[in-house]
Symmetry: D2
Subunit: 295 residues, 4 copies
Amino acid sequence: MRQRPDRGEVATYIPELARVDPQAFGLVVIDADGSVAAGGDSDVAFSIQSISKVFTLTLALGMVGDRLWRRVGREPSGSPFNSIVQLERERGIPRNPFINAGAIAVTDVILSGHQPREALGEILRFMQFVADDPSIAIDERVAASEQRTGFRNSALANYMKSFGVIENPVDFTLGVYFHHCAIAMTCRQLAKAGRFLAHSGRNPATGHFVVQPERARRINAVMLTCGHYDGSGEFAYRVGLPGKSGVGGGILAIAPGKASIAVWSPGLDEAGNSHLGRIALEALTKRMGWSIFGV
Amino acid sequence: MRQRPDRGEVATYIPELARVDPQAFGLVVIDADGSVAAGGDSDVAFSIQSISKVFTLTLALGMVGDRLWRRVGREPSGSPFNSIVQLERERGIPRNPFINAGAIAVTDVILSGHQPREALGEILRFMQFVADDPSIAIDERVAASEQRTGFRNSALANYMKSFGVIENPVDFTLGVYFHHCAIAMTCRQLAKAGRFLAHSGRNPATGHFVVQPERARRINAVMLTCGHYDGSGEFAYRVGLPGKSGVGGGILAIAPGKASIAVWSPGLDEAGNSHLGRIALEALTKRMGWSIFGV
Amino acid sequence: MRQRPDRGEVATYIPELARVDPQAFGLVVIDADGSVAAGGDSDVAFSIQSISKVFTLTLALGMVGDRLWRRVGREPSGSPFNSIVQLERERGIPRNPFINAGAIAVTDVILSGHQPREALGEILRFMQFVADDPSIAIDERVAASEQRTGFRNSALANYMKSFGVIENPVDFTLGVYFHHCAIAMTCRQLAKAGRFLAHSGRNPATGHFVVQPERARRINAVMLTCGHYDGSGEFAYRVGLPGKSGVGGGILAIAPGKASIAVWSPGLDEAGNSHLGRIALEALTKRMGWSIFGV
Amino acid sequence: MRQRPDRGEVATYIPELARVDPQAFGLVVIDADGSVAAGGDSDVAFSIQSISKVFTLTLALGMVGDRLWRRVGREPSGSPFNSIVQLERERGIPRNPFINAGAIAVTDVILSGHQPREALGEILRFMQFVADDPSIAIDERVAASEQRTGFRNSALANYMKSFGVIENPVDFTLGVYFHHCAIAMTCRQLAKAGRFLAHSGRNPATGHFVVQPERARRINAVMLTCGHYDGSGEFAYRVGLPGKSGVGGGILAIAPGKASIAVWSPGLDEAGNSHLGRIALEALTKRMGWSIFGV
C-alpha cells in the first residue's frame, strides 16, 4: 500500500485500484425531502467494490426470501474480510453476506443456474433501478484486474464449493462476483441508490417500492453489525449509523427516516475501511443528531 | 441443561441458577413519560448476570474515560461468551466489554487497587442509584455458587493476567466479578435502571445525569453490536434495539428516546440468550415501530 | 464413506476410489538382503495417493536442495490433512510437505516453469527409477475424478498463490498434483521404491544412489513426525517406524538398515490412514524388533 | 529475554531462571557399557523444567497404565508450549503429555486425591531412583518464582478443570506441577536418569527394571514426536533422536540401545529449546551415527 499518513492507505492489492487519486474526496447527503447536499468529488465515479454487497443481498432476498439464510449467516465475523478460518470451523457457511465469502455465496444464489452474463445484467439493472440512473456501468479494467489477482477469493469460493455451499461452477460465480464489485458509481449515484433503505424500502424519488419495510430494517441491521468487517463495532461506536464500506474508499451510510449518505476517500484504515470517510460521517452524524443510538 | 422445547433451556452451569422456575416470564416497559406497562412476573427478582456488564462498563468509563479502551476492545467477537481462543490471538485484550473476559477486565479497572468489598459496594450503589432503588441486593448464594464452579472464568482471568491485562490479584477481581453478576433485580427495577440509556444519559425519573449524551449513545452502540454474544447479529436483525442479555434469562433493551424495556424468561437459546425474551421483544418492537433501523 | 466396522471406512470423497474392494489386503516386506516376503493382494495395483508425496519431496530436494524449506516447513501440523486454518496463521507457508498444501507447494517447485506434462513425466520416471520398474503408470480415471472434485485442494492452492507461495498457474500445479497422486502401484512395487530410504539413500537392488545418506535420514524423520497427518503421533507410538500413508489405503514404512515395507488395505481410520495396514505394521514391527525406538 | 545473539536467549519469564549464567554449557554421554564422557559444566545443577515431564509421564503410566490416555492425547500439537487454543477445540483434552497442559493433566493423575506433599515426594523419589542418586532435590526458589508468576499455567489448569479433565483442586495440582518442574539436576544426573529409556526399560547401572521394553519404546516415540514443542519436527530432522527439552536450557536425548545423553546451555531458540544444546546433539549424533533414521 502507498503511505498516506493522514488519510490512510490506498488499497493496492487490486492493481487497478492503486491508480486512484489518494487526495480524492466526495460527499453527498440526500435527506427525506430529496434535498441534495454535495461536496468535493461528488460526481467522480469510483469502484464501489464491497458496497455492491448491499444490493446483491437485497436482490437475492427478493429472489429466494429467507431461504437465503441457509447459505449464509448474519453474525459479525470477528475477523478480517477475507478470512478463511471461520469457514473451516463452520463447514463452509460464511458468517454474513458482507464478508467476501458471504458475498460470493449470495452471488451464487443470484446466478442460480443462469449464464454469468445474464446474472450480471440483472445485478446491474437492479443497481440502475434503485439509483434511478441507467448510465451506471461496470469498469471492465477493474473487473479484469480482480479476475487476474483474486486468488484469495478463488480460495474462498473453492472452499465453499467443497462443502456444497456454492452450487454453480466456481469460475461462473467468481466472474459475476468480480464484475459486480467493479461497478463504478459516483457519490451522488450511490446516495440515490441507498434511499430505499432510509425510507422503509421505498425510494421517495421514484416512488418505487424496492423491498418491504421490514426487509429494509433488517438489511440496515446487517449493515450495522457486519458492514465494516472487523471495524464494524468501531463504526457503530463512532458514527452510529448502518453503513457499508468498500476497499475503493466508498461508504454508503443510512440514517433511517432521515437521509442516505455516500462518502468517498480512497485511503483506508487497518480494517480496510475509508479513513477520512469514517471521520466525515462521524462529524456529520454528530452535527445532525442522526445517530440511531440516541440524540 | 433441562429441556424446555418451546422455551429454550434453563442455564444449569451455575448450579444455583438451575433452581429457577422455567415458566417464569416478566416484562416491563417504561416510556419517555415514565408510564409503566408491566406484565407477568415483573416484580420477581432474578439474577441479572451479564446484564450487570452494562452498568460496570458505564461505571468504568466514568472512572477512567476512554483509557478503558486500552484494556478492552469494542468489536463483536464472533465466538461464544466464554471463548479463550480470541485472547491468545490478541495477546490478552478481550474483544469487547460484554464477553466474559472483557467484563472481567472492566471489573479489574473498577477494582483498581481497592479492596474487593469497596469495589463491590461501589458497583452496587451505582446500580441502586441508576435504578433509584436502594433495596437492590446481591444474591450471595448465586455468587458463592459461581465462585465454586467458575473455572472457565478463572482461566480467562489468569490468562489475561499472564499478559498484564489484569492488574489486581486474580482472586480479588474474580470475586468482585462473580458478585456483581449475582445482583438480583426485578424487571421493574431493571427497566428503571436502563432509562438513562434511553434518554441521552439522563434518568427522567430522578433528573440525574448519569453520563453525557454521547457516552449513552456509544454504550448503546456496543450493546447493539456485542450485547448478545454470538447471537448479536440475530438480535439486531430481529429486534432492532440495543440490548444486553444474561444467562439468568433477563434482557435489558433500549429504544433510544422512547423506552427502556426489561424482559425475563429463564429458557435460553443456543447462543445463551433468553428465547422467549427475544421473541417478546421482537413482537413489541414491531408493534410499536421502535426499531432503530427504520419504521 | 461406506461403513466397514472392523476395517475402517473406504475413502469415497474421490468417487473413483470408492470403487475399490474393501476386503483387499496386501503386504510386502523386502529386507536388507533383498529377500521378499509377500502376502495377500501384493500384486494388485492401487492408487498410492499421498504416498507419492515422499517421492516428490525427494525429487524436489534433489532439484533445489534446502531452498525447498523456504516454501514449506517441516513441523507436524496438529490438524487434518486438508486444513486451511494453519495457512492463514502462517501466511501461506504449509507446515510440512506431507499435508496436502505442502505437497502442492512441493509440486509447484518441481513444475517450476515447465509444462505440466514434462513435470509429470519427470515425476513418473523418477518413480519408475527408484522402483526399478518402467511399467508403473498413472490411473487417468482417478486423476480425472480428483480434478473434477478437488475443490478443497483448489482452495489450498489458490490460497497459497495469494501469498506468492505457488509460482506457476494454479491449474498447472494442481494438474500435476492430482496426477502424481493417481499413480497406481502394487505393494511389491512400492516396497521396492522405498528401499533407498531404508539403506542410506542407495537402492541395494540396482546399486543406484538416489540421495545422500543424510538426506535419506532426514526424509525418514519427516515421515515419522508428519507422515500420517493428525495420526502421526499414534503411528510412531504404535508402530515405531517412519511411514507415509495414502487415502487409497496404502502405507509405505521404512525400517532403517533393515527393511522396506508396503501394506495396503482400503479401510481408513478417523485420521484417514489405513486401519488394518497400521495394525499389520504394528504386529510386524513388534515381532521383528524393528522399532526405531528400541528393542 | 536477554539477547544472546549466538547462543539464543535465556528464558526470563520465570524470574529466578533469568539469573543463570548464559555462558554455561555441559554435556554428558553415557553409553551402553556405562562409559561416561563428560564435558563443560557437567556437574552444575540446573532447573530441568519440562524435562521432568518425561519422568512424570513414566510414573503416571506405571500408576494407571493406558487409562492415562483418556486424559491426554499423544499427537504433536502444532502450536507453542503454552497454547490454550487447542484445549478449546478439543474440549479440555491436551494433545500430548509434553505440552504444559498435558503435563499438568499427568500431574493431576499422579496427585489423584493425595496431598500435594505426598505426590511431590513420590515424584522426587522416582527421580532419585531412576538416576540412582538420592541427592537430587527441588530448587524451592524456582518453584516459588513459578508459583508467583505462572498465570498462564493457572489458566490452562482452570480451563481443563472446567471440562472435568483436572480432578483435584487446581491449586494442589499446580503446586505439584510447579515443584517438579523446579527439580535441579546436573547433566550427569540427567544422563543417568535417562538410561532406562535407552536400554529397553532397564537401567544397566542398577539392574532395575523401570518399565517394560514396549513402554520404553513408546515413551521414546512420544519424545520424538512431541518432545520439543513446535520445534519437534526440526529436532527430529536435524538430530534424529528422541529428546525432551526444558526452558532451563537442558535437553535429555536417547539413542536407543546406545546411549543416554544430557546437554545444557541456557540460551533458547524461538521454539523455546536450547539453541547450542540442539547444535551439540546434531554434531554428536552425526559423528556417532546414532540417528534412529539410518546410518
